[in-house]
Amino acid sequence: MSSAAGALNVVGKRVPRVDAKERVTGHAIYPADFSLPSMLHGRIKRSPHAHARLIRVDVSKALALKGVRAAVTGEDFLDLPIDAKAQVGEGGADMWYIARMNMAKDKVLWIGHPVAAVAADDPHIAEAALALIEVEYEVLTPVMTLDEAMRPDAPVLHDHCFTKGIEPRPQRPSNIGARTLLARGDVQQGFAEADVVVERRVTIDTVHQGYIEPNAALAQVEPSGLTRVWASTQGAFTLEIQLAVILGKPQSLLKVIPLEIGGGFGGKIYAHIEPAAVKLAEKAGRPVKIVLSREEVMLGTGPSPAAQIEVKVGAKRDGRLTAIQGRFLFDAGAFPGVGTTLQMQACANLYQCPHLKLEGFDVCTNKPRAEAYRGPGGTQTAFAVEQAMDELAERLNLDPLEFRDRNASVTGSPMVVGTPFPTIGLTTILDRVREHPCWRDPLPAGRFPRGRGLALGYWRGTSMTSACHIALTGDGRVMATIGAVDIAGTRTSMAQVVAEEFGIDLADVYVQTGDTKSVGFTQLSAGSRVTRTMAAAVHEACQDAIGQLKKRAAEQLQCSPEEIAYAEREFRSMRAGGASISLQSLARATMLDGAIVGRGVSTRLPLGVEIGAHVCDVEVDPHTGQVTVLRYTAFQDVGRAVNPPSVEGQIQGSVAQGLGWALTEYFDYAADGWLRNASLLDYRIPTALDLPAIDCVIIETPVPDVPYGLRGVGEVPIVPVGAAIANAIARATGRRQSAMPMTPERVLRSLRGSEFGKI
């Protein structure tokens, strides 16, 4: 095994993506680009009410329209048992909710909730057919905010939702799906011991992942029942599992073929259109493609949850933290199940503090179901806690970096959950920040007040399981089939691993993403797990294949396999005067002697926790509240950068998303549940002109017992962004920010001293 410290030839080198030419020439195929003979076009009818009983859905007039071939409603879908679990990701998902999210039965729960779908000869006919579907509703009062949803007399979304995590079990259903508590020591005592205590209350609006490719899928049902789905998904296998449960089909009759995915960021994990596409295809007896409009993407898919957070932190005069307390309300949207535990851990894990009390609530409202978005929930909790820490440092007259250093977690110190930290490099990161010009150089004066902000980010990431297999071509090339969808240059990084292990050129490696019937089960491409866990699987598969080749070589060279050494395409007998045989000769012989198939599975790899520190300079226009980001530097420990341009790309892209969230992006809901800005004009994603150059400082503290020492990369760089901007604004203006995004209106209000953040 190539050790983390060993010299590497391909892993760690800057290489262009193996699929880059297809991307720059327009040849990469995403599901919307893919068609089949006799294909139909599907469209989804959506609820105009945020909360209503579904009395009647009548598709007969739509079906009578010429060119309409099939229609489906909630009645076409199974009534699943409550709590039907499916292993989507680590925790799994309650498929009762996922099924109802895909097609309403009995009740609609947000504006945009699907109530029917049609398939027609062309998309225009399908669109016209939607208008002919008659739907009768009994409108109910919507619950749009966390405060409303938690009131004892609030209208309840789900009659079977009894808050989990409270003893004894509540007698009445409510909108609170779960309550989570993480505690250590005694916070009352901690605050009594503190010399300075800071309290902050913040709100964070709902934002969308904003992937540029609208969700699209194509489904085909063979007469035998075999169902193929060409999808834009972060997990082919986990999509197949969802389809199996929702449609009541055995997985032997399902095949998900992942095509290129035009961005996901956590938003393309759960099925939103595929079950309807399959049902329509089944009914019509023809393939059906569904491509969402941008408006539907914003209305109908799963954004990142809004949150309302109260934190209280205390420290001694010497800067030592004594207590961290927090109450975290997360807006789960239409169905309970939004995570709170990892999110709360994320904001407190980097600080060593004797007394902790973190309480989280998963709260339903009449909005789309909240789903993952890059370090899901971490950005929200960091916005609260990193501002409080910054304020604490300010009140203690301590440099914010030194304050963090004084309380920093190190390898072996207890995490929030009590277990010791695996190898981490937080203090190394802080040292690098301290000596970097972005921190050291004085901030030049500008036309308006300027400030420099620092914030830390932590994300745990996950490992789960990844599979691949490796085969040799007759001409001595190596082909790897991986079970993970490529969302971040995965094929390129895996080609580097194969080239490294076989000692061959990158050009002699082919890596493909398998479908669900051509490779072993692999969990989601999410949770900062793909590169690290798939690299471990590919590494193992290479070693397996090389081991098999050694046996073949040993037969040829008349020695035992243990006496064969492999390096740079040659299998050599280690006996005195030993002969050798080339990889190419053995590969050629496979066509007579049988294939070499190497197998690799990585399961529950040690975690590669992600830590980053961000430094930014901003200028705040006191007349308009406009915040301009002048400079941005992201420091991150990545264990080892397999392909540095990909790592930088992940960091820069994350920061860009974080800056959008920090300054301009939010879902603007009316009181009745309408989303008032469901377009990319009114929902402001940053353009090239809005962003500064984003500098990356890559630090490499390898994770022991993981091939190449890889850490997760892609999630943590969004986590500290909002807080870093808020801290910079505070340093520039003396005003703390209590709402994200920090739009000009909100910043201006804070400057004018009115109640922070209320518009």
Partner: protein, 159 residues
């Protein structure tokens, strides 16, 4: 209502039937099979559908096919003669300026008109030229550097 068009796409005159409601984007993708041009929003906000119309970048989702007369359309498929790559395409590869790739064709088309501009373009001017193309993966940094490298005719540092 259907209509028969004769238009110039990627240097070739093609005859194509379109409906009055078809946009240039529909015509390219659905009638001519040129799926390199992407639809990200359908209302001119994201730039994924950018093509050149008589040498100027336009959002093809905002142009009705029936409006076209004798203008020449160039799409991502026609920017260079395969297997050759346009210098911008090569630079984006070298600098790592493409990730999910969905916005890339539109970005390349928007940037391609900068090559004809006289004089040095500042980073700000490059960013302004690309401001109509939303990218959610890269943070634009490597795209801007790639474009600047072509304009300065210096090779990328990517690999």
């Amino acid at each position: 209502m259907r209509r028969l068009h004769q238009i110039s796409v990627n240097g070739e005159t093609v005859e194509v039937v379109s409906e009055t409601r078809d946009t240039l984007l529909d015509l390219l993708r659905d009638r001519l099979g040129l799926t390199g041009t992407k639809e990200g929003c359908g209302n001119g906000n994201c730039g994924a559908c950018t093509v050149l119309l008589d040498g100027e970048p336009v959002n093809s989702c905002l142009i009705l096919a029936v409006e076209l007369t004798d203008q020449a359309v160039v799409t991502i498929e026609g920017l260079a003669k395969p297997p050759a790559l346009h210098p911008l395409q090569q630079a984006i590869i070298d600098w790592g300026g493409t990730q999910c790739g969905f916005c890339t064709p539109g970005v390349v088309m928007s940037a391609s008109v900068l090559l004809g501009r006289k004089g040095h373009l500042s980073e700000e001017e490059i960013r302004r030229a690309l401001a109509g193309n939303l990218c959610r993966c890269t943070g634009y940094d490597k795209i801007v550097k790639a474009v600047a490298s072509v304009l300065a005719a210096v090779p990328g540092e990517g690999s």
